[in-house]
């Protein structure tokens, strides 16, 4: 039987509660001040839920709960912590489609990305850290016949984590998984644009994570984030965000002599060498996709390959295909599984991206495609994937637009490619594409960035360290080395000698 209208392919919006609370000491606790703020969906501007508007007093409660839990959690065996992390992964996996829809409604990103990337990566990162702590060992060194040095890793204590809005669950996972694996207790503040996803996840996790081990404080940066970063009961702060806030958090951390880890963004170059154009084959097609990766997550990724550097001899042939592939990006309702690019996360981001498109045009960059807003869903914040041709001194080549905006320029040889690639304040990610086996190693080594993808881009597997050079911050996530950012080293120096030293 046929109906007059084709059935909607848009997946159902998940049911949200009308109001969520802070999660403190294993309980859902209203903010002391009793105030809430509206969390609206960037998909269509609709209300998702009311979220707590927490203040310093709420942060105090959360830190106290974390400190209490630390007394026992810090002493748990790696076996026990590993089991908890595996259970978290299982719950995410069992609810993957539901959580993907939650994140899509909250952040605006396309469901095909939350289904294929965000949530599966969350599962894998929890399992990775569950695994590495079972295989890890401390060390023992016999310094001489009577002296033994034992190196034992101890959790650093209470960790304050401030999470961005571009991957609400994955960015929380990148910070939670190693902290919990290390034996730390956490007070985590999600971004105020995307506060609900983590609350929904922790509703599903009730009974799995012991009370007080993870505490979620919702609210605004100046009211809740700042007292968390400044709190005397915190032993370490982990932050992903922008440079000025990063400096401010380091300033606060210096008051308590606390260590910090910072991931502060980038302006990542994506370099396509002449040999890319040697054949029109599978690899050439992969390269075209690699260039169009700027549109992944609507460009709202710290490593967005937003500077495209193409060898001048292949530019015409290559850019023609990149433009065609960009024009084929299907904009639409983010909950439609066929939509390839969804909404920007908030109105202020939308306005900022448009202001950058404006300054790009003013500076004389040529619009190759896109160049303005899109009207995918009424009330939402949609922008056309946009490609500019210009030069590396333009502001659109130097500032992180955090939107689907690509700035293209050409180079004549490898030296110029490296010079352009490194002419940036940042050094988080870079892409390098070539068929030449020699330059596949030598040129990426010259690029000042913590992650260089070679003949690939936007892959974030666990067990590959990720972090920045230059103004992109410091610390390496997604790898067992992150555990050491959440730990102290305890050295037991043991003497087996029965004899005195003879000084006194």
């Amino acid at each position: 039987m046929q109906t007059a209208e084709a059935p909607s392919k848009i997946m159902p919006r998940p049911m949200f509660k009308t109001q969520y609370e802070n999660y403190i000491g294993g309980k859902w606790v209203p903010p002391i001040g009793g105030e809430y703020f509206d969390n609206q969906s960037p998909v269509d501007g609709s209300l998702i839920a009311k979220m707590p508007r927490s203040k310093a007093a709420d942060v105090d409660l959360a830190v106290a709960a974390a400190q209490k839990a630390f007394e026992t959690w810090s002493k748990t065996s790696a076996t026990e912590r590993s089991k908890v992390l595996l259970q978290i992964a299982d719950v995410i996996e069992q609810n993957l489609e539901f959580l993907a829809r939650v994140e899509t409604v909250e952040n605006g990103k396309a469901l095909r990305e939350t289904m294929a990337a965000d949530l599966p990566l969350c599962v894998d990162h929890f399992r990775y850290f569950a695994g590495v702590i079972r295989a890890e060992e401390g060390s023992a060194t016999e310094l001489n016949a009577d002296t033994l040095s034992l190196i034992i890793k101890e959790p650093i204590g209470i960790v304050g984590q401030i999470i961005p809005w571009n991957f609400p669950l994955l960015m929380a996972t990148w910070k939670l998984a190693p902290a919990l694996a290390a034996g730390c207790c956490v007070v985590i503040k999600p971004a105020e644009q995307t506060p609900t996803s983590l609350a929904v996840l922790f509703e599903l996790l009730e009974g799995i994570v012991p009370a007080g081990v993870v505490n979620i404080i919702q609210g605004f940066g100046p009211e809740a984030g700042k007292p968390l970063a400044q709190h005397k009961g915190i032993n370490k702060v982990a932050f992903t965000g922008e440079t000025t806030t990063g400096r401010l958090i380091m300033q606060y951390a210096s008051e308590n002599l606390n260590p910090v880890t910072m991931e502060l963004g980038g302006k990542s170059p994506n370099i396509f060498m002449k040999s890319v154009g040697d054949a029109d084959d599978e690899f050439f097609d992969k390269c075209v996709e690699g260039a169009v990766m700027f549109a992944l997550n609507q460009g709202e990724i710290c490593t967005c390959p937003s500077r495209l550097l193409v060898h001048e001899d292949i530019y015409d042939k290559f850019i023609e295909r990149v433009i065609a592939r960009t024009k084929a990006i299907k904009l639409g309702h983010p909950l439609d599984p066929e939509t390839m690019m969804g909404a920007q996360a908030s109105n202020d981001q939308y306005e900022k991206i448009l202001s950058y498109i404006d300054i790009g045009k003013q500076e004389g960059a040529e619009v190759l495609t896109g160049g303005g807003p899109a009207d995918s869903v009424e009330g939402g914040y949609y922008i056309q994937p946009t490609i500019f041709k210009g030069h590396n001194k333009m502001r659109i080549f130097q500032e992180e637009i955090f939107g689907p905006v690509l700035s293209v320029t050409t180079f004549k040889d490898a030296d110029e490619a490296v010079a352009i690639a490194n002419d940036t304040l940042y050094g988080l990610g870079a892409g390098f594409w070539s068929r030449d086996a020699h330059e596949l190693y030598t040129i990426p080594r010259q690029i000042q960035a913590g992650r260089v993808w070679v003949n690939c881009y936007h892959d974030y597997p666990a067990h590959a360290p990720f972090g920045g050079y230059k103004k992109s911050g410091f610390g390496r996530e997604n790898h067992l080395m992150m555990l050491n950012h959440y730990r102290q080293v305890k050295n037991l120096l043991i003497s087996y000698s029965k004899n005195k030293l003879g000084f006194f």
């Binding site: 105020e192 644009q193 940066g221 984030g225 000025t244 710290c302 908030s346 202001s355 500032e399």
Partner: protein
């Protein structure tokens, strides 16, 4: 042709209103232009003195009596553009003071005209005495 000094930063009436409200609540204010991801490329508004100005920061001028700063390496790429601090509805992240009001300061930029570029106000680098 103008011989007047060209100022580097300006403010829209809507942003002036927000600054006035924030001053009434928090006292004197300062701005520091951020780079980087998420809320990067947005101006941050703090209580005056909250953010420690370093030897690498450039003072571009004042808006509504508030100093407007930027790191000097970022200024290298921004110095040929005039900045207008505007405000837009939106839920920004960061520690900027206007966030709880449901609005976000943002930058609108334009290139300096050639005659303006010849008469740019000098900038101060490093903390004020």
């Amino acid at each position: 042709m103008t011989t007047q000094t060209t100022f580097r930063v300006d403010v829209t009436p809507a942003a002036s209103d927000v600054i006035a409200k924030l001053k009434a609540e928090n006292g004197p204010l300062m701005f520091h232009q951020s780079g980087g991801c998420c809320d990067g490329s947005s101006p941050m508004c703090y209580e005056d003195g909250e953010f420690i100005i370093g030897s690498s920061d450039v003072l571009l001028g004042q808006i509504e009596g508030c100093n407007f700063w930027m790191s000097s390496d970022q200024f290298e790429y921004w110095q040929h553009t005039h900045l207008t601090i505007d405000v837009t509805p939106g839920r920004g992240a960061s520690f900027s003071l206007e966030i709880p009001m449901g609005v976000r300061f943002m930058i609108r930029s334009r290139l300096f005209e050639p005659d303006e570029a010849e008469h740019l106000a000098p900038v101060h680098v490093g903390p004020l005495d």
